[in-house]
Subunit: 193 residues, 2 copies
Amino acid sequence: MTDKRSGRAADRTEAIMRTTLELGQELGYAKLSIEAVAARAGAGKHTIYRRWPSKGALFLDSLLSLHTPDLDYPDTGDVVADLRTQIHAAVDLLSGPPLGPLYQALVVEAQHDPQVAAALNERFITPQADKTVARLKSARDQGQLSPDFDLDLAMAILSGPLYYQFLIAREPLTHAYVDRVVEALLLGMRPRH
Amino acid sequence: MTDKRSGRAADRTEAIMRTTLELGQELGYAKLSIEAVAARAGAGKHTIYRRWPSKGALFLDSLLSLHTPDLDYPDTGDVVADLRTQIHAAVDLLSGPPLGPLYQALVVEAQHDPQVAAALNERFITPQADKTVARLKSARDQGQLSPDFDLDLAMAILSGPLYYQFLIAREPLTHAYVDRVVEALLLGMRPRH
């Protein structure tokens, strides 16, 4: 009985998150509202607010709960291939249609709203950084990466140039660009003698 | 006579830009308005709009016209020292008080306003990228950087991790962080045998 009830609650939570992504894609982030999600999902507004304090928190959770497995690192034994695979998946999910513009809007909202910023870091950036460091650490232990490589910088160095490309230079993020960035970071700027 | 008149126009332009930065620091970017700048600078609103189509364009121009020389690269012959000097100056100007929060607000505004985005790129990002590439090219020609280093990526790789740090991870930008990033980029991720 308890299992059935918690199963139904999980179904409802998932329905709310699916509806959030659907409506976000239809309306854009600015026009997305918790009221509209509640109406379409057939849920009470208070049910939603009990779990998610803001539209930003709800959207972030929806994006990640439904897509996080896509962003895990494979481990084929070849760290460069695995980095490429993972970053291509992240770029496809977070910068392309249909979810890219919504993710970009969320990053912008985080600049205005400290709660969204905290949720973005806690729910996405920090877990992704942890996964990245774990995959690179195992590669370093196998001698595929320099023992001097500063693992704490891994996320900033690998994804910083990608955020720069779409937020600052406002150029499209392509797999070819990602590959050039990974290659340049592997090589380093200093000559190798 | 013409010289005197264009001299006065240049003085007025500079007065408007100084007032913009002053008022921006007092009010914050959100509350800064062309009306308030016009009133305090004793200039006509139309005079300002003739030159700057928006608050974003006026603010960007003010920041850069008054501070661009601070962001030139020195050339002491040691590219690593020069990179550090320039990036420390950029970090002090664009992320610390008093102008940092205003620059950050401008980057956010560029996400909403394509005209501000275009001005940011045309007036700041592209010229800085050109300066960076020129300084690195001269170092590469002198054998201080790898001949394989992809110069077109220089700005993204050097400044991407810094934008990541303050826009995404929302951690303070320090000289120590900049130095670690430069060191990691010089070294590269691959082992050197």
